[in-house]
């Protein structure tokens, strides 16, 4: 039986005999975001996982701070910080198996790095020396995607292809609350559900699309409720609770892996920094709101849990911070070196073989560069 046939057929029946194809009830998300940290359920959490989450969260925040600093030094063209959203970023990376695929949006550098992408290579796009700095196949991380929601159908297609080939691979695709308004979001979720593709969609609802708040983006009870319309389960989770996100994603990934099809997960979180370093958030939101969210800080939530359970002392905290500082120092140092640039790269990868037209243009640029170099050499010789 082919993958497509497994879905079975449903034929339209005249209304007197009409039956809904699936019961919508199990697809509906809980009324409140799922939380673990700060609840009794946290007691069951694996200490190693908690510690790992903590260390990665701290590294992640440090990474955001360092990258933002690099924009001020002119070392990055722009940086969209995920400070406040680290729990989503880290849990997304950690919930995946090595053979799985991650499809990040432009805000998800942290998730890529936590999955193993070199911290400098992850910044190539934003530094501006190339569009993608890493080989997507090395860590199975698709290029950071700028056109909103367009990466979602890619994740569906890849997951579907893996399933057709019989590989045990799940794709996890990240998107923002604003991105859910795009047609590509709709089409991707629908294809995923119809194909029962092994893919999980994580919406980081951080309350804003640049300046536009959620109430100008959707009137839905929650973004997770969109799942019902595709016939897939929707889950709602506290996006600042790393343990809860990790748990919900883990369940969704396992469900997909077992052939259960896609899940839509909405993580309720908040962007503490401005949209990017170039944005002025005071134009559209109050400090009060930011402060309220700071009080629900993803790192503090884990730290509190670890401390309460006696799993974290001053020394351990210091070690984690030192590790993060070392990462930041390395990042700073390597980012302070000018990247190697070859203008001829403009032509190298447009096609497998340059067209005759590109070959001509290639010669033109090479001649220009030679002339420039000659002129410089002459100038220096004078």
């Amino acid at each position: 039986m082919t993958v497509m046939e497994q879905r079975g057929a449903y034929r339209p029946t005249p209304p007197p005999a009409w039956q809904p194809r699936t019961d919508p009830a199990p697809l509906l998300p809980d009324a409140r975001p799922h939380r673990v940290l700060g609840t009794e359920a946290a007691a069951g959490a694996d200490p190693a996982l908690l510690r790992r989450l903590y260390a990665e969260l701290v590294r992640g925040r440090r990474y955001n701070a360092q990258a933002t600093a690099l924009t001020r030094q002119g070392r990055l063209a722009v940086y969209p910080s995920s400070t406040g959203q680290e729990a989503c970023e880290i849990a997304a990376a950690l919930a995946l198996q090595e053979r799985d695929w991650l499809f990040p949006s432009y805000r998800d550098t942290l998730a890529a790095v936590a999955r193993g992408v070199d911290p400098v290579e992850a910044l190539t796009l934003l530094r501006g020396d190339w569009h993608t700095g890493y080989d997507p196949y090395e860590h199975r991380v698709a290029p950071l995607c700028t056109p909103l929601a367009t990466q979602l159908p890619h994740a569906v297609g890849l997951a579907h292809a893996a399933r057709l080939k019989g590989d045990d691979v799940v794709a996890l695709a990240l998107v923002g609350d604003g991105g859910t308004s795009e047609g590509d979001f709709h089409e991707a979720l629908n294809f995923a559900a119809v194909w029962q593709a092994p893919v999980v969609f994580l919406v980081q609802n951080n309350g804003f699309a640049i300046s536009v708040p959620l109430d100008r983006q959707t009137a839905a009870p929650s973004l997770a409720h969109k799942a019902v319309g595709y016939g897939m389960p929707g889950r709602l989770v506290d996006g600042n609770d790393a343990l809860a996100v990790h748990e919900v994603l883990g369940e969704a990934l396992a469900h997909a892996r077992a052939g259960g099809g896609p899940t839509l997960v909405e993580a309720v979180t908040y962007r503490i920094d401005a949209h990017t370093n170039a944005d002025d958030a005071t134009r559209y939101r109050d400090d009060d709101e930011v402060e309220a969210w700071r009080a629900h800080d993803p790192i503090a939530l884990v730290e509190r849990e670890l401390t309460a359970r006696g799993l974290l002392d001053e020394d351990a905290i210091r070690a984690v911070r030192e590790d993060a500082e070392a990462m930041a120092a390395d990042l700073r140092e390597r980012m302070n070196q000018d990247p190697a640039l070859d203008p001829m790269d403009l032509f190298t990868h447009v096609y497998a073989e340059p067209t005759p037209q590109l070959a001509e243009q290639c010669d033109q640029l090479r001649a220009e560069l030679d002339a420039e170099a000659e002129a410089e050499a002459e100038g220096a010789g004078r």
């Binding site: 993958v3 080939k165 590509d184 294809f191 447009v350």
Partner: protein, 334 residues
């Protein structure tokens, strides 16, 4: 020399055969689109493929062109070679962002790590009495998008050979199928080992000395007809079938125009901002001192594609081509 039984076949049949052969040769080839499975496509080009290769290899997708091309991108990322059918030219527009921002750029974006061997089949052009949105010639959009190859056959044999080449290409190819040639017939032997035509080569369909008609796709037969009619006026016209708009075969085109000294570019797409501007400009750049007259263009008018009852006034026909040839400043000759 053995005699081979050569039967006439339609372009649609040759395309079907190319898909079938490609699927048989390479399990990575997957066909997908609206109605391509059970129905075999609205033009029946995918007829029988779902039956022969299963629904997983020839898949009826949900009705969403961006979703079709977007999922094809993901499938290609995982090593498949998707062949996407867009049902009609104008219905490829919803997939424009995926095409321009991803399909055309992924290889370049990833420094060659992630090529996307996707073929996007688009039935295009008019002359079939189609109602609005069913007769667009959208090649100008694709030509202006670096990273894509743009290919269009005019003969039954080329339909086979070029589609095989497109599917075999590691680069994305927009494969434009002239709708009104789907039922055109040619002596073509589907039982013979088939030639895969290299992408990027124009062919001279008719030799001539007076002037060159540069054309492609649905306008090739029209130009051949015009060339025959031109004999009565004493003109011996050469007809070049470009076959590939990207890459462009400057060599063949330039050689012809240098020889004839005059040229007319002919296509159905609108003239303003259409393919003819690029072609005329590059021919002029390369042949300026060989030209007896400016390169002229015969194209569709710069209007939305007309309704069926008026399309004959829009489409470049033999008379309009001959008129243009007549304006190539022959007085210089005498």
């Amino acid at each position: 020399m053995t005699t081979v039984a050569v039967k006439p076949a339609t372009m649609a049949q040759a395309l079907t055969r190319a898909l079938r052969d490609a699927m048989a040769a390479d399990p990575a080839v997957h066909v997908m689109g609206e109605d391509v499975g059970t129905l075999g496509g609205v033009f029946r080009v995918t007829d029988g493929l779902a039956k022969e290769f299963g629904e997983d290899r020839c898949t009826d997708t949900p009705l969403a062109e961006a979703g079709i091309l977007g999922t094809a991108v993901g499938m290609a990322m995982y090593g498949l070679r998707p062949v996407v059918e867009m049902q009609f030219d104008a219905f490829a527009y919803p997939a424009f962002e995926q095409l321009v921002s991803h399909v055309a750029r992924m290889r370049n974006r990833t420094r060659g790590a992630m090529p996307l061997p996707i073929t996007v089949r688009v039935p295009y052009g008019g002359g079939i009495g189609g109602v609005e949105h069913h007769s667009d010639s959208s090649e100008a959009y694709y030509m202006a998008t670096p990273g894509l190859h743009v290919v269009t056959p005019a003969t039954v044999a080329d339909a086979y050979g070029l589609l095989r080449a497109a599917i075999a290409s590691d680069d994305p190819v927009v494969f434009l199928e002239p709708k009104r040639l789907y039922w055109s017939k040619d002596a073509w032997n589907p039982e013979e080992p088939q030639t895969v035509e290299p992408i990027g080569r124009a062919v001279v369909r008719r030799r001539g000395r007076s002037a060159t008609l540069i054309t492609y796709g649905p306008s090739v037969p029209v130009c051949l007809e015009a060339a025959e009619a031109a004999r009565a006026e004493g003109w011996d016209l050469e007809v070049v079938d470009l076959r590939s708009l990207v890459p462009f075969d400057d060599e063949t085109v330039t050689a012809s125009v240098r020889r004839t000294g005059r040229a007319v570019v002919v296509h159905e797409a609108g003239g303003f901002g259409g393919p003819g501007g690029e072609i005329a400009a590059r021919v002029t750049e390369r042949c300026f001192h060989h030209l007896e007259a400016p390169v002229l263009r015969v194209a569709g008018f710069d209007v939305p594609y007309p309704p069926p009852m008026l399309e004959r006034h829009h489409l470049p026909g033999v008379d309009r081509i001959l008129d243009a040839v007549g304006r190539l400043q022959w007085e210089a000759e005498s």
